[in-house]
Amino acid sequence: MSPELGRFALSLACVFALAQTILPLIGAQRRDRRLMAVAPGLAVGQLIALAASFLCLVNAAITNDFSVSNILENSAVAKPLLYKISGVWGNHEGSILLWAMILGICGAAVAAFGRNLPSALRARVLAVLGGVAAGFELFCLTTSDPFDRVWPAPLDGQGMNPLLQDPGLAFHPPILYTGYVGFAVPFAFAIAALIEGRVDAAWGRWVRPWAVAAWAFLTCGIALGSWWSYYVLGWGGYWFWDPVENASLIPWLSGTALMHSAVVVEKREALKIWTVLLAIATFSFSLSGTFLVRSGILNSVHAFAQDPARGIFILGLLGVVIGGSLVLFAWRAPSLTAGGLFAPVSREGALVLNNILLCSLCAVVLTGTMYPPFMSLLFGKTISVGKPFFDAATVPLAIPLFAVMGFGPMLPWKRAQLWPVLRRLWIAALVTLGAFAVCLWGLSGVLPVLCATFAVWVIATSVTDVTGRVALFRVPLSQSLQRARSLPRSAFGAALAHAGVGVTVLGLAAMSQAQHRIVEVHVGQTESLAGYDWTLTGVKTEPGPNYVAMVATIEIRHNGRIVTVMHPSKRSFNSQNQTTTEVSIHTNGLSDLYGVIGDRHGTDANPTYVLRLHYNPLAPWMWFGALIMAMGGALSLSDRRMRVGAPRRAPMPDAVAAE
């Protein structure tokens, strides 16, 4: 398990990937069954080689092999085992290797689950995946080799940024990368379809589960990252519109659009060109996000080792992948035949509206993120685009989206009447009106009130959708249960995911009312915030494994009754001359009490401490909602129709075009 073995395995994987690109493509073109059949084997072989390479790096980290410069720079003997392992992907070189390995897993998964795909399509999909993987493996080998050695090897490493020593961050990158990389599969399907010049309902059915899976992972990854910044950075914030965060939000938005438009391809064979473009765009956004972060073009708090030389390699890679696929799109897409027609008011119409709104949101976030470097390039002006722009530009687009989310899933395909559907939603509408009244009373600001109201609308209509489908209370309960069993799980999944959006938006709206105070207090002093009395009862110093902590004890009382005692602390790390704040959070599910200890001031005899106290209403809901969304995705994936992915044509009884 030496690092050299790891580098060899990586080179081998690269060779496999190149073979996986070239041979099946030739095979599919010449209709040569033998050449096409090598693709799955090569994909699995590539994964095995990548896994071996990755294990070599993990092994070097666990055994403290400081002759490997990547381990030397990011690890230390005193680091706990979990962080030695997670440290492997906590830096640039290792994270690219992880990226390549997840891509390898995707390829192997297509090889394993795609047995019932037409062989030419499968060969082409695997070839595209192999090509992308080869690019990343070459990038890893040539410009960011994780196995570089140093001589002489020092006795101890330089340690890892203490901020990254956190379980949340140990799992955040793999899940997020699975989301990013997962969109490579719909991308590969799109490219394969362009090469073949054919997109049909079966294609939509094959693409959709991959898009849903990648989307669910991306949702979890984004939520985990946001949660991490909430409880680790100690600013009390959860989303900063930082370029790196936006780089994950942009593919999420376009991926959400893709997931929905693929439904239209599957059910109605419409929106084909658009769906292909979305699949290309989503993966392109995922790739570009990586590029922008690692080249140092965007100013961000996420500090990767930034190196323009690497940037040029990735830019070249992007040019080949994105440029190549868009050339193919421009060349082949016009020849794709158009499918079923539909009236503007119909399920398809609602999904088109969903796509327009999601893509507009995506464009807004993209513009806000890219505006500063472009301004700087074109006009030499330095500007920063922040929360005020994003809030003002995204919320007005999000609210109509929430409104459509409510009734869209209930509209019939092809042609619908709005009124009968809306009439079924009268209970949801009443609930929403009630919520609106409560919001007017409880929330301040127009946008939070509107967001919260429509969040309730989304949840209420999702519930109505499911109860309506099982005819709850209209037929005997046993019959309702019977209906629920026969209802496709993807319908439940969609309703659940929509309700999750509502829960997250409620959390976001309530968080706009968060209160905080920064106070400088003596021990024993009491400050009040949001109806709670916060008393600093003591501060003591505690040694840790590789740091010294200043731990405060804060008692929180509500109407004289003690609610909780929290111990926020501030750690000074000896190795990197760095301090971290350990936030203390008390949650009851409806609100978070959030305490941070800052600097010590005053004399030794009479010290004062800076405390930051936050009251964050509904904060946990933001991440809980994201979890519900991902669970909705998972539930929908467990639907047999998705899993089987059989090329059975959906029955289309009256396939006569509307109008």
């Binding site: 658009w274 073009i297 100013n299 040019g319």
Partner: protein, 198 residues
């Protein structure tokens, strides 16, 4: 792309060229971005483009046009006040919610004995800002309130604390995006002051 969303019937021949052109739009967009990124990277390597260098564009330029309302316990000021100066002045953006700003106060109190400092309360409630100055001491000769943070945008403030040295006539001649301490003052600020003979 809205026309494609509707999937025109395949029988409609006519505007095949238009269709082709539209399919090429994503490529054109991506190509423009690609060229821009390449220019940025090339500029980063040659040093002509640095997205992280927020200091560069500010120094050597006249102060932007602005007016600041009063912030207790001081009086606000505007572009005209800075242009009318006959001696250098330090403009310091601060906020009561910003812990580095509180840490910086001591250095500012030392500095104001030899260089007038005008403060700007950035995105801060007037009461909180006044409370901070009452508690930590007030180094500012004049103080303006920038509740919305609009003036800070014109100044190119990236965060608080941030300080600008203004030469007589209203030109920004030095800038620091970090909290000032005595070392920073000795290293950067004093050198610049000497250069202009202030």
């Amino acid at each position: 792309m809205s026309d494609d969303l509707r999937s025109p019937p395949s029988g409609a021949s006519g505007d095949v060229t238009r269709r082709r052109l539209m399919m090429g739009l994503p490529l054109a967009g991506a190509a423009i971005c690609g060229v821009a990124f390449w220019k940025m990277l090339a500029g980063m390597q040659s040093g002509s483009f640095n997205p992280h260098d927020i200091n560069a564009p500010v120094t050597g330029r006249p102060v932007p046009v602005f007016t600041l309302a009063d912030q207790i316990p001081g009086t606000g000021f505007s572009t005209a006040d800075l242009r009318a100066l006959s001696k250098p002045v330090l403009i310091n953006f601060f906020a009561s919610w910003c812990i580095p700003c509180i840490a910086e106060m001591q250095a500012l109190l030392d500095l104001q004995k030899r260089l007038p400092i005008w403060g700007v309360a950035y995105k801060d409630k007037p009461d909180n800002a006044a409370g901070l100055l009452k508690h930590a001491g007030n180094p500012y000769a004049r103080i303006g309130s920038d509740r919305e943070g609009r003036v800070a945008i014109d100044w190119g403030v990236s965060g608080v604390p941030e300080s600008f040295l203004i030469a007589p006539g209203g030109t920004i001649i030095w800038h620091s995006a970090a909290g000032l301490d005595n070392d920073e003052v000795a290293a950067g600020l004093d050198g610049t002051l000497k250069r202009i003979g202030g």
